[in-house]
Protein backbone atom coordinates (compact mmCIF):
# COMPACT_ATOMS: atom_id res chain seq x y z
CA UNK A 1 0.00 0.00 0.00
CA UNK A 2 2.40 2.64 1.21
CA UNK A 3 5.02 1.72 -1.34
CA UNK A 4 2.50 2.24 -4.09
CA UNK A 5 1.59 5.71 -2.94
CA UNK A 6 5.28 6.43 -2.59
CA UNK A 7 5.90 5.43 -6.14
CA UNK A 8 3.12 7.56 -7.53
CA UNK A 9 4.48 10.51 -5.59
CA UNK A 10 7.92 9.85 -6.95
CA UNK A 11 6.81 9.83 -10.55
CA UNK A 12 4.71 12.95 -10.03
CA UNK A 13 7.61 14.86 -8.61
CA UNK A 14 10.20 13.68 -11.04
CA UNK A 15 8.03 14.89 -13.90
CA UNK A 16 7.86 18.39 -12.44
CA UNK A 17 11.24 18.74 -10.85
CA UNK A 18 13.94 16.32 -9.79
CA UNK A 19 14.51 16.11 -6.07
CA UNK A 20 17.60 15.12 -4.20
CA UNK A 21 17.89 11.80 -2.43
CA UNK A 22 17.95 13.61 0.87
CA UNK A 23 14.70 15.49 0.43
CA UNK A 24 13.03 12.36 -0.89
CA UNK A 25 14.29 10.37 2.06
CA UNK A 26 13.10 13.05 4.44
CA UNK A 27 9.69 12.95 2.78
CA UNK A 28 9.55 9.19 3.17
CA UNK A 29 10.73 9.38 6.75
CA UNK A 30 8.06 11.93 7.60
CA UNK A 31 5.40 9.48 6.47
CA UNK A 32 6.86 6.75 8.67
CA UNK A 33 5.15 7.19 12.01
CA UNK A 34 7.43 4.81 13.91
CA UNK A 35 10.47 6.47 12.40
CA UNK A 36 9.32 9.97 13.31
CA UNK A 37 8.46 8.97 16.87
CA UNK A 38 11.87 7.40 17.29
CA UNK A 39 13.51 10.48 15.80
CA UNK A 40 11.71 12.68 18.32
CA UNK A 41 12.80 10.44 21.20
CA UNK A 42 16.40 10.37 20.02
CA UNK A 43 16.48 14.16 19.62
CA UNK A 44 14.92 14.48 23.07
CA UNK A 45 17.71 12.38 24.58
CA UNK A 46 20.38 14.37 22.77
CA UNK A 47 18.88 17.64 24.00
CA UNK A 48 18.69 16.17 27.47
CA UNK A 49 22.38 15.38 27.47
CA UNK A 50 23.26 18.83 26.11
CA UNK A 51 21.21 20.44 28.88
CA UNK A 52 22.85 18.20 31.46
CA UNK A 53 26.29 19.24 30.21
CA UNK A 54 25.33 22.89 30.12
CA UNK A 55 24.04 22.84 33.68
CA UNK A 56 27.15 21.04 34.87
CA UNK A 57 27.74 21.69 38.54
CA UNK A 58 29.86 20.20 41.26
CA UNK A 59 29.22 16.53 41.82
CA UNK A 60 28.82 17.07 45.55
CA UNK A 61 25.55 18.77 44.74
CA UNK A 62 24.06 15.35 44.27
CA UNK A 63 24.30 14.74 47.99
CA UNK A 64 22.75 18.01 49.04
CA UNK A 65 19.30 17.80 47.62
CA UNK A 66 17.83 14.93 49.50
CA UNK A 67 18.67 13.08 52.61
CA UNK A 68 16.85 9.86 53.46
CA UNK A 69 18.17 10.13 56.99
CA UNK A 70 16.74 13.62 57.34
CA UNK A 71 13.92 12.49 59.56
CA UNK A 72 16.17 10.42 61.82
CA UNK A 73 18.81 13.11 61.99
CA UNK A 74 16.24 15.69 62.85
CA UNK A 75 14.96 13.49 65.63
CA UNK A 76 18.47 12.93 66.91
CA UNK A 77 19.16 16.62 66.86
CA UNK A 78 15.91 17.26 68.63
CA UNK A 79 16.93 14.90 71.36
CA UNK A 80 20.32 16.53 71.66
CA UNK A 81 19.23 20.10 71.72
CA UNK A 82 15.61 20.20 72.60
CA UNK A 83 13.28 22.75 71.07
CA UNK A 84 15.80 23.93 68.54
CA UNK A 85 14.25 25.32 65.35
CA UNK A 86 15.04 23.42 62.14
CA UNK A 87 16.69 25.70 59.60
CA UNK A 88 15.90 24.46 56.17
CA UNK A 89 13.82 21.32 55.79
CA UNK A 90 15.44 18.84 53.43
CA UNK A 91 13.42 16.81 50.99
CA UNK A 92 12.21 13.59 52.46
CA UNK A 93 11.14 11.94 49.28
CA UNK A 94 12.58 11.92 45.80
CA UNK A 95 10.68 11.30 42.62
CA UNK A 96 12.64 8.19 41.69
CA UNK A 97 14.17 7.46 45.05
CA UNK A 98 17.81 7.58 45.96
CA UNK A 99 20.75 5.24 45.60
CA UNK A 100 22.63 3.45 48.35
CA UNK A 101 24.44 6.63 49.31
CA UNK A 102 21.42 8.87 49.27
CA UNK A 103 21.95 10.51 45.91
CA UNK A 104 18.96 11.46 43.82
CA UNK A 105 18.51 8.80 41.17
CA UNK A 106 16.65 11.02 38.75
CA UNK A 107 19.42 13.56 38.75
CA UNK A 108 22.04 10.87 38.60
CA UNK A 109 20.32 9.14 35.69
CA UNK A 110 20.12 12.39 33.75
CA UNK A 111 23.83 12.89 34.36
CA UNK A 112 24.55 9.30 33.39
CA UNK A 113 22.41 9.64 30.28
CA UNK A 114 24.34 12.66 29.16
CA UNK A 115 27.68 10.91 29.65
CA UNK A 116 26.62 7.69 27.95
CA UNK A 117 24.96 9.43 25.02
CA UNK A 118 27.87 11.81 24.54
CA UNK A 119 30.43 9.04 24.61
CA UNK A 120 28.45 6.93 22.16
CA UNK A 121 27.71 9.79 19.75
CA UNK A 122 31.24 11.15 19.67
CA UNK A 123 32.71 7.67 19.61
CA UNK A 124 30.72 6.67 16.57
CA UNK A 125 31.34 10.04 14.93
CA UNK A 126 35.10 9.57 15.26
CA UNK A 127 34.80 5.96 14.10
CA UNK A 128 32.90 7.17 11.03
CA UNK A 129 35.60 9.76 10.34
CA UNK A 130 38.42 7.20 10.55
CA UNK A 131 36.49 4.56 8.64
CA UNK A 132 35.46 6.94 5.87
CA UNK A 133 38.90 8.41 5.45
CA UNK A 134 40.66 5.05 5.32
CA UNK A 135 37.88 3.47 3.25
CA UNK A 136 38.00 6.31 0.74
CA UNK A 137 41.77 6.14 0.38
CA UNK A 138 41.72 2.38 0.18
CA UNK A 139 38.88 2.15 -2.33
CA UNK A 140 39.98 5.08 -4.46
CA UNK A 141 43.68 4.38 -4.79
CA UNK A 142 43.58 0.58 -4.64
CA UNK A 143 46.80 -1.35 -5.24
CA UNK A 144 49.39 -1.34 -2.45
CA UNK A 145 47.61 1.35 -0.44
CA UNK A 146 44.57 -0.90 -0.36
CA UNK A 147 46.71 -3.89 0.62
CA UNK A 148 48.21 -2.07 3.59
CA UNK A 149 44.89 -0.73 4.81
CA UNK A 150 43.26 -4.13 4.34
CA UNK A 151 46.02 -5.54 6.50
CA UNK A 152 45.12 -3.02 9.21
CA UNK A 153 41.50 -3.98 8.81
CA UNK A 154 42.24 -7.69 9.16
CA UNK A 155 44.23 -7.04 12.34
CA UNK A 156 41.45 -5.11 13.99
CA UNK A 157 38.71 -7.51 12.97
CA UNK A 158 40.54 -10.66 14.02
CA UNK A 159 40.75 -9.54 17.63
CA UNK A 160 37.41 -10.16 19.38
CA UNK A 161 35.71 -6.83 20.22
CA UNK A 162 35.81 -7.32 23.93
CA UNK A 163 39.52 -8.11 24.00
CA UNK A 164 40.32 -5.17 21.75
CA UNK A 165 38.37 -2.84 24.02
CA UNK A 166 40.03 -4.29 27.10
CA UNK A 167 43.50 -4.11 25.57
CA UNK A 168 43.05 -0.44 24.81
CA UNK A 169 41.37 0.24 28.13
CA UNK A 170 44.25 -1.31 30.08
CA UNK A 171 46.90 1.03 28.75
CA UNK A 172 44.94 4.29 28.75
CA UNK A 173 43.73 6.38 31.67
CA UNK A 174 40.07 6.31 32.56
CA UNK A 175 37.78 9.09 31.42
CA UNK A 176 35.34 10.24 28.80
CA UNK A 177 38.00 11.28 26.29
CA UNK A 178 39.65 7.90 26.55
CA UNK A 179 36.37 6.08 26.06
CA UNK A 180 35.69 8.04 22.89
CA UNK A 181 39.21 7.32 21.66
CA UNK A 182 38.91 3.61 22.42
CA UNK A 183 35.56 3.37 20.69
CA UNK A 184 36.84 5.24 17.65
CA UNK A 185 39.91 3.03 17.40
CA UNK A 186 37.98 -0.19 17.78
CA UNK A 187 34.81 0.33 15.76
CA UNK A 188 35.89 1.97 12.52
CA UNK A 189 36.18 -1.38 10.75
CA UNK A 190 32.60 -1.84 9.58
CA UNK A 191 32.51 1.68 8.16
CA UNK A 192 35.83 1.10 6.45
CA UNK A 193 34.63 -2.07 4.74
CA UNK A 194 31.45 -0.44 3.42
CA UNK A 195 33.16 2.76 2.30
CA UNK A 196 35.94 0.88 0.57
CA UNK A 197 33.43 -1.11 -1.46
CA UNK A 198 31.42 2.01 -2.34
CA UNK A 199 34.46 4.01 -3.43
CA UNK A 200 35.67 1.12 -5.55
CA UNK A 201 32.28 0.98 -7.22
CA UNK A 202 31.96 4.73 -7.72
CA UNK A 203 35.44 5.62 -8.87
CA UNK A 204 34.85 4.33 -12.38
CA UNK A 205 31.39 5.89 -12.72
CA UNK A 206 30.80 8.51 -15.37
CA UNK A 207 30.42 11.48 -13.08
CA UNK A 208 33.81 10.80 -11.56
CA UNK A 209 35.31 10.50 -15.02
CA UNK A 210 33.69 13.82 -15.87
CA UNK A 211 35.23 15.37 -12.77
CA UNK A 212 38.52 13.90 -13.85
CA UNK A 213 38.12 15.44 -17.28
CA UNK A 214 37.70 18.94 -15.90
CA UNK A 215 40.86 18.43 -13.90
CA UNK A 216 39.63 17.68 -10.39
CA UNK A 217 42.29 16.33 -8.07
CA UNK A 218 42.18 13.06 -6.16
CA UNK A 219 40.97 14.43 -2.85
CA UNK A 220 38.41 16.66 -4.57
CA UNK A 221 36.97 13.71 -6.43
CA UNK A 222 36.99 11.60 -3.30
CA UNK A 223 35.37 13.99 -0.88
CA UNK A 224 33.38 16.45 -3.02
CA UNK A 225 32.15 14.15 -5.74
CA UNK A 226 31.96 10.60 -4.43
CA UNK A 227 31.38 11.15 -0.72
CA UNK A 228 28.03 13.00 -1.04
CA UNK A 229 26.78 10.10 -3.14
CA UNK A 230 27.57 7.51 -0.50
CA UNK A 231 26.91 9.56 2.61
CA UNK A 232 23.50 8.02 3.20
CA UNK A 233 25.26 4.79 4.13
CA UNK A 234 27.19 6.70 6.75
CA UNK A 235 24.01 7.97 8.34
CA UNK A 236 22.70 4.44 8.81
CA UNK A 237 26.10 3.24 10.01
CA UNK A 238 26.24 6.10 12.47
CA UNK A 239 23.07 5.06 14.18
CA UNK A 240 24.01 1.37 14.17
CA UNK A 241 27.37 2.20 15.72
CA UNK A 242 25.82 4.48 18.33
CA UNK A 243 23.53 1.72 19.54
CA UNK A 244 26.47 -0.67 19.76
CA UNK A 245 28.63 1.83 21.60
CA UNK A 246 25.93 2.62 24.16
CA UNK A 247 25.93 -1.08 25.01
CA UNK A 248 29.72 -1.30 25.03
CA UNK A 249 30.02 1.73 27.28
CA UNK A 250 27.76 0.07 29.82
CA UNK A 251 29.89 -3.07 29.87
CA UNK A 252 33.22 -1.23 30.01
CA UNK A 253 32.12 1.15 32.74
CA UNK A 254 30.75 -1.76 34.68
CA UNK A 255 34.07 -3.58 34.52
CA UNK A 256 35.76 -0.43 35.77
CA UNK A 257 37.44 0.69 32.54
CA UNK A 258 34.94 3.34 31.62
CA UNK A 259 34.25 6.78 32.92
CA UNK A 260 36.15 8.51 35.70
CA UNK A 261 35.15 7.79 39.29
CA UNK A 262 33.91 11.34 39.67
CA UNK A 263 31.55 10.95 36.74
CA UNK A 264 28.61 8.68 36.37
CA UNK A 265 27.18 6.85 33.42
CA UNK A 266 24.67 4.09 32.85
CA UNK A 267 27.39 1.50 33.22
CA UNK A 268 28.77 3.05 36.39
CA UNK A 269 25.25 3.14 37.80
CA UNK A 270 24.62 -0.50 36.93
CA UNK A 271 27.87 -1.38 38.65
CA UNK A 272 26.33 -0.28 41.94
CA UNK A 273 23.23 -2.38 41.39
CA UNK A 274 24.29 -5.90 42.50
CA UNK A 275 25.10 -4.83 46.05
CA UNK A 276 21.99 -2.65 46.21
CA UNK A 277 19.72 -5.44 45.04
CA UNK A 278 20.79 -7.54 47.99
CA UNK A 279 19.42 -4.82 50.25
CA UNK A 280 16.27 -4.67 48.17
CA UNK A 281 16.95 -1.37 46.36
CA UNK A 282 15.75 -2.22 42.89
CA UNK A 283 14.82 1.22 41.61
CA UNK A 284 18.23 2.36 40.40
CA UNK A 285 18.45 -0.66 38.11
CA UNK A 286 14.93 -0.17 36.79
CA UNK A 287 15.42 3.55 36.12
CA UNK A 288 18.66 3.03 34.23
CA UNK A 289 17.22 0.11 32.29
CA UNK A 290 14.12 2.02 31.29
CA UNK A 291 16.09 5.08 30.18
CA UNK A 292 18.55 2.98 28.26
CA UNK A 293 16.07 0.71 26.59
CA UNK A 294 13.89 3.61 25.47
CA UNK A 295 16.85 5.26 23.80
CA UNK A 296 18.24 2.06 22.31
CA UNK A 297 14.85 0.91 21.02
CA UNK A 298 14.21 4.32 19.49
CA UNK A 299 17.65 4.34 17.92
CA UNK A 300 17.27 0.87 16.41
CA UNK A 301 13.81 1.64 15.06
CA UNK A 302 15.19 4.89 13.65
CA UNK A 303 17.99 2.93 12.00
CA UNK A 304 15.45 0.70 10.27
CA UNK A 305 13.35 3.67 9.17
CA UNK A 306 16.40 5.54 7.93
CA UNK A 307 17.47 2.53 5.93
CA UNK A 308 14.01 2.20 4.40
CA UNK A 309 13.84 5.92 3.68
CA UNK A 310 17.30 6.20 2.15
CA UNK A 311 17.25 2.98 0.21
CA UNK A 312 13.71 2.28 -0.94
CA UNK A 313 14.73 -0.69 -3.04
CA UNK A 314 15.59 -2.81 -0.01
CA UNK A 315 12.52 -4.07 1.80
Amino acid sequence: MTSQTDNSNLTDESSTQSRSLRSLAWKRLKKDRVGMTSLVIVIFFILLSIVAWASDEQDDELFDDADPLAALLAEAEDNAEQYEIEEEPKLETLLLGSDGRGRDILQKTLKGTSVSVTVALFGSFCAILIGTLLGAISGYFGKWVDDILMWFYSIFTSIPDMLLLLSFAVVFQRGIGTLILIFALTSWTSVYRLMRAEFMKHKSREYVQAADAIGAGGSRKMFLHILPNVSHILLVQFSILTVGLIKSEVVLSFLGFGVDIKQTSWGAMLAEVPSELLQGYWWQMVTVTVFMSILVTAFSLLTDSLRDALDPKVK
Binding site: S154, S158, P160, L163, L166, K247, V251, F254, L270, L277
Partner: protein, 312 residues
Protein backbone atom coordinates in the same frame (compact mmCIF):
# COMPACT_ATOMS: atom_id res chain seq x y z
CA UNK B 1 40.17 -27.62 -1.59
CA UNK B 2 43.44 -28.51 0.07
CA UNK B 3 45.32 -25.73 -1.70
CA UNK B 4 42.57 -23.33 -0.63
CA UNK B 5 43.07 -24.24 3.02
CA UNK B 6 46.83 -23.89 2.68
CA UNK B 7 46.41 -20.48 1.08
CA UNK B 8 44.05 -19.31 3.80
CA UNK B 9 46.38 -20.49 6.55
CA UNK B 10 49.24 -18.75 4.73
CA UNK B 11 47.19 -15.52 4.70
CA UNK B 12 46.73 -15.73 8.45
CA UNK B 13 50.43 -15.15 9.06
CA UNK B 14 50.58 -11.43 8.19
CA UNK B 15 47.40 -10.84 10.18
CA UNK B 16 48.81 -12.62 13.20
CA UNK B 17 52.03 -10.64 12.80
CA UNK B 18 49.97 -7.44 12.74
CA UNK B 19 48.12 -8.46 15.88
CA UNK B 20 51.44 -9.12 17.58
CA UNK B 21 52.71 -5.72 16.50
CA UNK B 22 49.57 -4.02 17.79
CA UNK B 23 49.78 -5.77 21.15
CA UNK B 24 53.47 -5.00 21.38
CA UNK B 25 52.97 -1.31 20.64
CA UNK B 26 50.08 -1.11 23.09
CA UNK B 27 51.83 -2.81 25.98
CA UNK B 28 55.41 -1.72 25.45
CA UNK B 29 54.98 1.86 24.32
CA UNK B 30 51.56 3.13 25.26
CA UNK B 31 51.17 1.07 28.40
CA UNK B 32 54.09 2.58 30.26
CA UNK B 33 56.46 0.79 32.57
CA UNK B 34 54.75 -2.07 34.43
CA UNK B 35 57.67 -2.47 36.82
CA UNK B 36 56.37 0.47 38.85
CA UNK B 37 53.09 -1.34 39.40
CA UNK B 38 54.79 -4.62 40.22
CA UNK B 39 57.31 -3.05 42.57
CA UNK B 40 54.43 -1.70 44.60
CA UNK B 41 55.44 -0.39 48.00
CA UNK B 42 59.00 -1.67 47.91
CA UNK B 43 59.85 0.93 45.31
CA UNK B 44 63.56 1.48 45.08
CA UNK B 45 65.97 1.82 42.21
CA UNK B 46 67.49 -1.62 42.77
CA UNK B 47 64.08 -3.22 42.95
CA UNK B 48 63.04 -1.55 39.69
CA UNK B 49 66.23 -2.62 37.94
CA UNK B 50 65.89 -6.19 39.12
CA UNK B 51 62.24 -6.36 38.11
CA UNK B 52 63.03 -4.96 34.70
CA UNK B 53 65.81 -7.49 34.24
CA UNK B 54 63.48 -10.26 35.35
CA UNK B 55 60.78 -9.24 32.88
CA UNK B 56 63.26 -8.61 30.10
CA UNK B 57 62.32 -4.94 29.91
CA UNK B 58 65.96 -3.84 30.02
CA UNK B 59 66.55 -5.23 26.56
CA UNK B 60 66.08 -3.14 23.44
CA UNK B 61 62.61 -2.90 21.87
CA UNK B 62 63.68 -4.95 18.85
CA UNK B 63 65.04 -7.68 21.06
CA UNK B 64 61.84 -7.67 23.11
CA UNK B 65 59.75 -8.00 19.98
CA UNK B 66 61.89 -10.92 18.82
CA UNK B 67 61.35 -12.58 22.18
CA UNK B 68 57.61 -12.02 21.85
CA UNK B 69 57.69 -13.49 18.34
CA UNK B 70 59.50 -16.51 19.64
CA UNK B 71 56.92 -16.87 22.39
CA UNK B 72 54.10 -16.86 19.86
CA UNK B 73 55.90 -19.35 17.61
CA UNK B 74 56.52 -21.78 20.43
CA UNK B 75 53.23 -20.96 22.20
CA UNK B 76 55.21 -20.61 25.41
CA UNK B 77 54.49 -17.24 26.98
CA UNK B 78 56.67 -17.59 30.06
CA UNK B 79 55.28 -17.01 33.51
CA UNK B 80 52.52 -14.75 34.75
CA UNK B 81 53.81 -11.57 36.35
CA UNK B 82 51.39 -11.61 39.23
CA UNK B 83 51.17 -15.28 40.18
CA UNK B 84 54.44 -16.63 38.71
CA UNK B 85 52.50 -19.56 37.25
CA UNK B 86 53.44 -20.62 33.73
CA UNK B 87 51.00 -18.94 31.35
CA UNK B 88 50.45 -22.16 29.41
CA UNK B 89 49.25 -23.97 32.53
CA UNK B 90 46.89 -21.10 33.35
CA UNK B 91 45.37 -21.31 29.91
CA UNK B 92 45.15 -25.10 30.01
CA UNK B 93 43.27 -24.96 33.28
CA UNK B 94 40.95 -22.18 32.24
CA UNK B 95 40.01 -23.11 28.72
CA UNK B 96 37.74 -26.03 29.68
CA UNK B 97 35.01 -24.10 31.50
CA UNK B 98 35.00 -21.41 28.80
CA UNK B 99 34.54 -23.92 26.02
CA UNK B 100 31.84 -25.69 28.00
CA UNK B 101 29.94 -22.44 28.55
CA UNK B 102 30.25 -21.13 24.99
CA UNK B 103 29.51 -24.44 23.32
CA UNK B 104 26.42 -25.30 25.35
CA UNK B 105 25.18 -21.72 25.10
CA UNK B 106 25.59 -21.73 21.35
CA UNK B 107 23.87 -25.09 20.85
CA UNK B 108 20.85 -24.37 23.05
CA UNK B 109 20.47 -20.86 21.68
CA UNK B 110 20.61 -22.16 18.13
CA UNK B 111 17.88 -24.76 18.76
CA UNK B 112 15.49 -22.29 20.38
CA UNK B 113 16.09 -19.48 17.90
CA UNK B 114 15.64 -21.79 14.93
CA UNK B 115 12.35 -23.02 16.31
CA UNK B 116 11.11 -19.49 16.99
CA UNK B 117 12.34 -18.14 13.68
CA UNK B 118 10.76 -20.93 11.67
CA UNK B 119 7.35 -20.50 13.30
CA UNK B 120 7.52 -16.71 13.13
CA UNK B 121 8.50 -16.79 9.48
CA UNK B 122 5.71 -19.22 8.73
CA UNK B 123 3.15 -16.78 10.13
CA UNK B 124 4.87 -13.91 8.36
CA UNK B 125 2.93 -10.67 8.67
CA UNK B 126 0.48 -11.93 11.28
CA UNK B 127 -0.04 -10.52 14.76
CA UNK B 128 2.19 -13.26 16.17
CA UNK B 129 4.99 -12.25 13.84
CA UNK B 130 4.69 -8.57 14.73
CA UNK B 131 4.45 -9.31 18.43
CA UNK B 132 7.62 -11.39 18.33
CA UNK B 133 9.42 -8.72 16.30
CA UNK B 134 8.46 -5.96 18.72
CA UNK B 135 9.29 -8.10 21.74
CA UNK B 136 12.70 -8.99 20.39
CA UNK B 137 13.45 -5.34 19.55
CA UNK B 138 12.69 -4.40 23.13
CA UNK B 139 14.59 -7.40 24.49
CA UNK B 140 17.61 -6.40 22.43
CA UNK B 141 17.58 -2.90 23.86
CA UNK B 142 18.24 -4.08 27.40
CA UNK B 143 21.86 -4.39 28.35
CA UNK B 144 23.29 -7.85 28.87
CA UNK B 145 24.38 -6.62 32.30
CA UNK B 146 20.79 -6.09 33.37
CA UNK B 147 19.88 -9.61 32.32
CA UNK B 148 22.75 -11.03 34.31
CA UNK B 149 22.25 -8.90 37.42
CA UNK B 150 18.48 -9.29 37.52
CA UNK B 151 18.61 -12.99 36.58
CA UNK B 152 21.15 -13.80 39.21
CA UNK B 153 19.14 -11.89 41.79
CA UNK B 154 15.68 -13.22 41.05
CA UNK B 155 16.34 -16.77 39.86
CA UNK B 156 19.18 -17.64 42.17
CA UNK B 157 18.92 -15.41 45.22
CA UNK B 158 15.17 -14.85 45.53
CA UNK B 159 13.75 -18.05 44.06
CA UNK B 160 16.72 -20.22 44.99
CA UNK B 161 16.28 -22.33 41.89
CA UNK B 162 19.96 -22.22 41.05
CA UNK B 163 23.18 -21.70 43.00
CA UNK B 164 24.09 -18.00 42.94
CA UNK B 165 27.53 -18.73 41.60
CA UNK B 166 30.28 -21.28 41.73
CA UNK B 167 31.96 -24.05 39.85
CA UNK B 168 32.64 -27.65 40.79
CA UNK B 169 35.16 -30.27 39.77
CA UNK B 170 33.06 -32.87 38.01
CA UNK B 171 31.79 -32.42 34.46
CA UNK B 172 28.21 -33.49 35.22
CA UNK B 173 28.10 -31.47 38.40
CA UNK B 174 29.04 -28.36 36.44
CA UNK B 175 26.69 -29.12 33.60
CA UNK B 176 23.61 -29.71 35.74
CA UNK B 177 24.19 -27.56 38.80
CA UNK B 178 26.31 -24.55 37.92
CA UNK B 179 25.78 -24.12 34.21
CA UNK B 180 21.96 -23.88 33.94
CA UNK B 181 21.65 -20.34 35.33
CA UNK B 182 24.28 -18.79 33.01
CA UNK B 183 22.63 -20.68 30.16
CA UNK B 184 19.13 -19.41 30.96
CA UNK B 185 20.42 -15.84 31.08
CA UNK B 186 22.56 -16.31 28.00
CA UNK B 187 19.52 -17.61 26.19
CA UNK B 188 17.50 -14.55 27.19
CA UNK B 189 20.28 -12.39 25.76
CA UNK B 190 20.97 -14.16 22.51
CA UNK B 191 17.58 -15.46 21.49
CA UNK B 192 16.14 -12.10 20.42
CA UNK B 193 18.82 -10.99 17.92
CA UNK B 194 19.22 -14.55 16.62
CA UNK B 195 15.49 -14.99 16.08
CA UNK B 196 15.31 -11.72 14.19
CA UNK B 197 18.19 -12.60 11.93
CA UNK B 198 17.07 -16.19 11.29
CA UNK B 199 13.56 -14.97 10.59
CA UNK B 200 14.79 -12.82 7.70
CA UNK B 201 16.72 -15.83 6.37
CA UNK B 202 13.56 -17.93 6.45
CA UNK B 203 11.31 -15.22 5.01
CA UNK B 204 13.69 -14.64 2.13
CA UNK B 205 13.68 -18.32 1.27
CA UNK B 206 9.91 -18.64 1.53
CA UNK B 207 9.39 -16.17 -1.29
CA UNK B 208 11.28 -18.34 -3.74
CA UNK B 209 9.64 -20.21 -6.55
CA UNK B 210 10.58 -23.65 -5.32
CA UNK B 211 8.33 -23.19 -2.28
CA UNK B 212 5.38 -22.49 -4.56
CA UNK B 213 6.29 -25.54 -6.62
CA UNK B 214 6.47 -27.67 -3.50
CA UNK B 215 3.04 -26.42 -2.44
CA UNK B 216 1.67 -27.00 -5.93
CA UNK B 217 2.73 -30.61 -5.95
CA UNK B 218 0.91 -31.10 -2.66
CA UNK B 219 3.63 -31.37 -0.06
CA UNK B 220 2.59 -30.82 3.53
CA UNK B 221 3.50 -27.48 5.08
CA UNK B 222 5.72 -29.20 7.62
CA UNK B 223 7.68 -30.90 4.92
CA UNK B 224 8.08 -27.67 2.98
CA UNK B 225 9.29 -25.79 6.03
CA UNK B 226 11.56 -28.45 7.48
CA UNK B 227 12.95 -30.05 4.35
CA UNK B 228 12.99 -27.39 1.67
CA UNK B 229 13.04 -23.99 3.34
CA UNK B 230 15.10 -24.99 6.35
CA UNK B 231 17.93 -26.44 4.30
CA UNK B 232 18.33 -23.29 2.27
CA UNK B 233 17.84 -20.92 5.17
CA UNK B 234 20.49 -22.81 7.10
CA UNK B 235 23.23 -21.60 4.77
CA UNK B 236 23.48 -18.04 6.10
CA UNK B 237 22.57 -19.24 9.58
CA UNK B 238 25.48 -21.68 9.83
CA UNK B 239 27.88 -19.01 8.69
CA UNK B 240 26.59 -16.59 11.26
CA UNK B 241 26.84 -19.19 13.99
CA UNK B 242 30.43 -19.98 13.09
CA UNK B 243 31.43 -16.34 12.99
CA UNK B 244 29.59 -15.36 16.16
CA UNK B 245 32.49 -16.52 18.33
CA UNK B 246 33.73 -12.97 19.06
CA UNK B 247 30.30 -11.95 20.38
CA UNK B 248 30.06 -15.05 22.50
CA UNK B 249 33.41 -14.15 24.03
CA UNK B 250 32.03 -10.81 25.24
CA UNK B 251 29.09 -12.58 26.80
CA UNK B 252 31.18 -15.28 28.38
CA UNK B 253 33.60 -12.76 29.90
CA UNK B 254 30.72 -11.15 31.76
CA UNK B 255 29.07 -14.46 32.67
CA UNK B 256 32.30 -15.87 34.02
CA UNK B 257 32.88 -12.77 36.11
CA UNK B 258 29.38 -12.87 37.60
CA UNK B 259 29.02 -16.58 38.14
CA UNK B 260 32.54 -17.27 39.30
CA UNK B 261 33.28 -19.63 36.45
CA UNK B 262 37.05 -20.14 36.30
CA UNK B 263 37.34 -19.62 32.56
CA UNK B 264 39.49 -17.58 30.22
CA UNK B 265 37.24 -14.54 30.51
CA UNK B 266 37.60 -14.41 34.25
CA UNK B 267 41.33 -14.89 33.88
CA UNK B 268 41.70 -12.07 31.40
CA UNK B 269 39.78 -9.68 33.63
CA UNK B 270 42.02 -10.65 36.53
CA UNK B 271 45.07 -10.14 34.35
CA UNK B 272 43.78 -6.75 33.24
CA UNK B 273 43.21 -5.74 36.86
CA UNK B 274 46.75 -6.66 37.86
CA UNK B 275 48.46 -5.46 34.65
CA UNK B 276 49.58 -9.01 33.97
CA UNK B 277 50.64 -8.39 30.38
CA UNK B 278 51.93 -11.89 29.47
CA UNK B 279 48.57 -13.43 30.31
CA UNK B 280 46.61 -10.80 28.38
CA UNK B 281 48.89 -11.14 25.37
CA UNK B 282 48.74 -14.93 25.45
CA UNK B 283 44.96 -15.13 25.74
CA UNK B 284 44.53 -12.53 23.01
CA UNK B 285 46.83 -14.39 20.65
CA UNK B 286 45.06 -17.68 21.35
CA UNK B 287 41.64 -16.15 20.76
CA UNK B 288 42.76 -14.41 17.58
CA UNK B 289 43.95 -17.74 16.22
CA UNK B 290 40.65 -19.31 17.30
CA UNK B 291 38.66 -16.60 15.53
CA UNK B 292 40.67 -16.99 12.33
CA UNK B 293 40.32 -20.76 12.36
CA UNK B 294 36.58 -20.45 12.94
CA UNK B 295 36.24 -18.03 10.04
CA UNK B 296 38.02 -20.54 7.82
CA UNK B 297 35.78 -23.33 9.10
CA UNK B 298 32.74 -21.16 8.39
CA UNK B 299 33.81 -20.80 4.77
CA UNK B 300 34.47 -24.52 4.44
CA UNK B 301 31.10 -25.43 5.94
CA UNK B 302 29.49 -22.88 3.66
CA UNK B 303 31.02 -24.66 0.71
CA UNK B 304 29.94 -28.04 2.08
CA UNK B 305 26.27 -27.19 2.55
CA UNK B 306 25.99 -25.03 -0.56
CA UNK B 307 27.81 -26.65 -3.48
CA UNK B 308 27.10 -23.59 -5.65
CA UNK B 309 29.64 -21.59 -3.67
CA UNK B 310 33.04 -21.28 -5.32
CA UNK B 311 36.02 -20.92 -3.01
CA UNK B 312 38.57 -18.52 -4.38
Amino acid sequence: MFSYIIRRVWQMIPTLFGVMLLLFILYNWVGGDPSYILAGKSLSNEALVSIRAQLGLDKSQVEQFLIFTKQVMTMDFGTSWSTQQPVSSIINNRIGPSIMLILSWQIISLCFSLLFAATVAYFNGSMYDRAVTILSTIAMSISILVYIIAGQYFLAYKMQWFPVFGWGDGFWENLFIYLPLPLVIGLAVSIAPDTRFYRTCFVEEMNHDYVRTARAKGLSEQKIMLKHVMRNALIPIVTSVMSSLPYMITGSVLMERFFGIPGLGNEILKAVDSSDFPVIKAITIYLVIAVMVFNLLADLIYKYIDPRVQLK
